[in-house]
């Protein structure tokens, strides 16, 4: 058959078969036992030519309500932020996206250096000493942080705040099951981790205390108190953090965090229905040799030229096999590159400005909602998200909002007892004053 991805011609085939010493391609498959041989063709859809397939899939895409056409107030871990045009142009360079893991440093310096720069930027934002080359996402990074903590402290219990993303906690429980680690949830009080309960629960079996900053409700946790609780029992202090917020917020490293993890999706990575995003993993120097995943380090060649290599590989699965503490192999390199470009474009000034705008707009939205008679549930300082209580099911209100060109917030009743009819509202720098006011009005009207 002829296909644009398959260059073999009939005469090539003939020559090659003869070089191999067989008459037909089928002979090359004779080692497959007759009983398991698949005969004929897969019963799948016939091939489509490029224009027709593009048209079909474009129609399929058009069935989805997307954030380019709707004003989105939905966050809950995935955010609609400014993505500089340059990001997609850089990651579309196929020297980057068609490369494999940089195991041959001499012809992979571009990728290696880009990752080295990514590691540096994550360290800068989080206030940590060492960051790896990326993880699958914030959720699995959090689970790996718990595993690292258990290994490091030789303890088997982790405390995780209820204000950590519910899906990250689900993932944590999955990983914990494999490792026989006990996961204990610390309840929230008024939208932040209940410090009294935390102090009661933390003990000498505790490997880690995990909180999110800003937390799932958008609120700022009291990190000094969590730090005291964790370190008081020599447990690891683990903070999951939206790195974009750290343009304006004091970094977790300043509060004594041992491990900071999260997702770099807010930096130039599209929501794409939940993945791929880009987990990051940062630690103190002390934990450098325990980090999961790949690390890029600086070195030099024989002529003294600076170069970069994958390093400290003795930690990893392809060397340690069953002694490895993590099985991660592929990571999210291309998305780490996207995040690097976005962080570079924003730069020192822009990362502050974007974070500050989020604070300002969320504040403005909160005030506008109050004015429209909508109840704000937790009266805590927040970054770019907060909780409101409606007097109708969130689903119903969101349905109405769609008609106005708005994607409404997250229905907290799905995951939190006592927060039925509560909506988690995200307001990024991309939401205009007009959109915010329309949203506030619609939510206010829904009360009538």
């Amino acid at each position: 058959m002829k296909h644009r991805y398959l260059p073999m011609t009939e005469s090539d085939k003939k020559e090659m078969l003869s070089a191999v010493g067989v008459q037909t391609i089928d002979e090359l498959f004779e080692d497959i036992p007759e009983k398991v041989r698949f005969k004929g063709l897969y019963n799948i859809k016939e091939a489509k030519a490029e224009p027709a397939l593009k048209k079909e899939l474009s129609a399929l895409a058009a069935k989805n309500a997307n954030a380019k056409e709707y004003a989105s107030f939905l966050g809950a871990g995935v955010y609609d932020h400014y993505a500089p045009s340059i990001v997609d142009h850089v990651i579309s360079r196929s020297e980057f996206y068609t490369a494999y893991t940089p195991y041959q440093p001499e012809i992979s310096q571009g990728e290696l250096q880009a990752i080295f720069e990514f590691q540096t930027m994550i360290c800068e934002l989080t206030g940590m000493d060492v960051a790896n080359s990326s993880m699958y996402d914030g959720g699995t990074a959090l689970a790996e942080a718990a595993m690292l903590s258990a290994g490091q402290t030789k303890r088997t219990k982790v405390l995780v705040s209820e204000t950590v993303h519910p899906e990250s906690r689900d993932v944590l429980r999955m990983y914990a099951k494999g490792q026989n680690i006990e996961v204990v949830e610390v309840p929230h009080k008024d939208g932040v981790t209940d410090i009294d309960r935390l102090n009661e629960l933390v003990d000498s079996d505790t490997a880690a205390v995990i909180v999110q900053y800003p937390n799932f409700f958008g609120a700022i946790e009291s990190l000094p108190e969590v730090e005291k609780a964790a370190h008081g029992e020599k447990a690891m202090f683990v903070v999951s953090s939206n790195p974009l917020s750290l343009g304006a917020l004091t970094p977790p490293g300043k509060f004594g965090a041992d491990i900071v993890i999260g997702d770099a999706q807010p930096f130039g990575i599209p929501a794409q229905f939940g993945g791929p995003h880009c987990g990051y993993f940062a630690v103190t120097k002390k934990l450098m040799r325990k980090v999961p995943g790949r690390l890029v380090g600086q070195t030099h060649d024989e002529e003294g030229r600076r170069g970069f290599v994958l390093t400290l590989q003795a930690r990893e699965q392809h060397i340690r096999r069953d002694k490895a503490t993590s099985n991660i192999c592929s990571n999210q390199a291309l998305n780490a590159l996207a995040a690097s470009v976005a962080m570079t474009a924003l730069g020192k000034a822009g990362v502050r400005e974007i974070a500050v705008q989020n604070l300002q707009k969320a504040f403005y939205a909160r005030e506008s909602l109050k004015k429209n008679g909508v109840e704000i549930v937790f009266d805590t300082p927040v970054f770019n998200e907060f909780v409101v209580r409606l007097n109708k099911p969130v689903k119903e209100v969101n349905q109405k909002l769609l008609e106005k060109g708005i994607i409404g917030g997250y229905d907290l009743g799905l995951t939190y007892e006592g927060l039925e009819k509560c909506m988690l509202v995200a307001v990024t720098e991309l939401r205009t004053k007009e959109e915010i006011e329309l949203f506030a009005k619609e939510l206010g009207d829904s009360h009538e």
Partner: protein
């Protein structure tokens, strides 16, 4: 840095330059300090670069020129299936309706995305011969762990708590034993025989009622089809264990043999290998898992279901192992894989495997006179050579790999699998032309001759790359893992 060095973005930075264009703040400005509790407003700004947009583009363009991708040249990296990454895939994944949809939107607003996922699952079921598929795992290793957790849940649901061991061949990918460990199992290694296949006698010796599963790649990492697969399935099933298929090498058997028909109970696929999701310099990948009927209850939740033409995420799955990843997997990669499958169709996927296997056999036969060929039989999509002969001349496989760089090639996988001395593992894929294969073969033959006549040129390679062999020992002993200005002038 010295003059010849490629600048880091931090070294390009100049105070006061910007590379962004944020919207004007159109709401009344409030005092930020008043919005945060005391001590939470960041005092020291993070040292991110200060550069213009052109600075950024020049920087990354320069970096890209120091990187080899499939589009740059041949990439015969064994076990990685470095085939062409179609451009339509990239276009489709960037459609607004796929790229800019939020995972927590109401289901009615994302029916198109769910339809694509559902249809991809249907296609993967047929391709693998399995009864159900989840798209949740983010990568191959993540899929392995997901599959093993399901096997663990299955045994435990049967009151079988003593199945603590996972058997893995000595030729297996490193992720197999690592995934077994993370899933809480002990790894037992089964030996390969002289013929490169799993030694059935050794397998019988290591299995017992504590066996949870056998993990297998078929064809294995030597590129050989495990002909005794049905006997192996019988041995494992005979003691109540499950058979796990590592789909890294699926490109070798599409339309020729399906894991489901070989007796496998669980399969993971690497959509970034066989199904052209690009490798991205190390990811993101996608690692869907397929299972036979008896394991369906344990699939991670939510499970995508279709009722009366409408798609739903079903969370009501009491026996589900839980959730392995936030949301529904690496959708963006799944879109690319789906686009590829739909571009190929049934005839295309069959041709893919046939040409991948013909290409590998052709290269193997043409190179056999110049290198040691540990397994002299038809291979599947990849094959291994041994550099033993050259090693005697003082030229190691690593040297030959580095010499290939001088000819513009990415070297094959080397020193893997572990059971072949001075191993060179070559996987050409089906998207390469005969001319490309011939040119690479010529380069390999030339290097084999150089090893005899001029070994230094090989030992000292590469000669033409932007940088020479790097001091990896120093990198590991005195790790410099981030940019710090003070550390650059040492």
């Amino acid at each position: 840095m010295n003059k010849k060095d490629q600048e880091l973005i931090f070294e390009v930075s100049q105070p006061g330059r910007i590379g962004y264009s944020l919207p004007e703040l159109d709401v009344p400005e409030t005092d930020v300090a008043a919005l945060l509790p005391d001590g939470y407003l960041r005092e020291e700004a993070p040292e991110l670069p200060e550069v213009s947009e052109l600075d950024i583009m020049r920087h990354y363009t320069a970096l890209s020129k120091r990187n080899h991708g499939i589009d740059s040249g041949f990439y015969p990296l064994g076990s990685c299936t470095m085939k062409y990454n179609p451009k339509i895939n990239e276009d489709v994944a960037r459609f607004d309706g796929f790229a800019h949809i939020h995972p927590l939107q109401q289901e009615e607003t994302v029916q198109g995305a769910m339809e694509l996922m559902y249809d991809l699952q249907e296609h993967l079921k047929e391709i693998t011969g399995m009864d159900e598929v989840t798209l949740q795992p983010a990568a191959g290793a993540h899929g392995e762990w997901t599959g093993l957790m399901m096997i663990r849940a299955f045994h435990e649901a049967n009151g079988d708590f003593n199945r603590t061991k996972v058997i893995v061949p000595d030729s297996a990918h490193g992720t197999n034993p690592a995934s077994a460990t993370v899933a809480g199992f002990e790894t037992i290694t089964v030996k390969s025989g002289e013929d490169g296949l799993v030694d059935l006698e050794d397998l019988k010796r290591v299995v017992d009622e504590t066996t949870a599963a056998l993990m297998l790649t078929n064809p294995n990492t030597l590129g050989l089809f495990e002909e005794n697969i049905l006997e192996m399935a019988e041995i494992i099933h005979g003691v109540g264990g499950k058979l796990y298929y590592d789909g890294a090498n699926l490109n070798a058997v599409m339309s020729k043999a399906r894991p489901g028909d070989m007796g496998f109970d669980v399969v993971h696929l690497n959509l970034h290998k066989t199904f052209t999701g690009p490798h991205g310099g190390g990811g993101p990948g996608s690692g869907p898992v397929g299972v036979k009927a008896d394991l369906i209850p344990y699939l991670p939740k939510p499970v995508l279901v279709k009722k009366e033409g409408v798609y739903h995420f079903d969370y009501n799955r009491p026996q589900a192992i839980g959730r392995v990843k936030p949301f529904y997997g690496n959708f963006g990669i799944n879109v690319r894989a789906y686009t590829y499958i739909r571009s190929m169709g049934p005839d295309g996927l069959k041709a893919v495997t046939e040409y991948a296997v013909l290409n590998a056999n052709y290269m193997m036969r043409r190179l056999a006179p110049y290198f040691d060929l540990p397994f002299n039989r038809h291979c599947k999509h990849e094959f291994v050579l041994s550099g033993k002969r050259q090693k005697k001349l003082g030229v190691r496989t690593l040297d030959m790999a580095k010499r290939l760089l001088d000819f513009g090639y990415h070297p094959p996988t080397i020193y893997f699998p572990l059971n072949v001395e001075e191993c060179i593992m070559i996987e050409p894929t089906e998207t390469e032309s005969k001319e490309t294969l011939d040119a690479f073969i010529d380069a390999m033959i030339r290097i084999a001759k150089e090893a005899e006549t001029n070994p230094e040129i090989v030992q000292e390679a590469p000669h033409t790359t932007v940088i020479g062999r790097l001091d990896e020992t120093t990198a590991a002993r005195k790790p410099v893992l981030r940019y710090e200005k003070e550390l650059q002038n040492v």
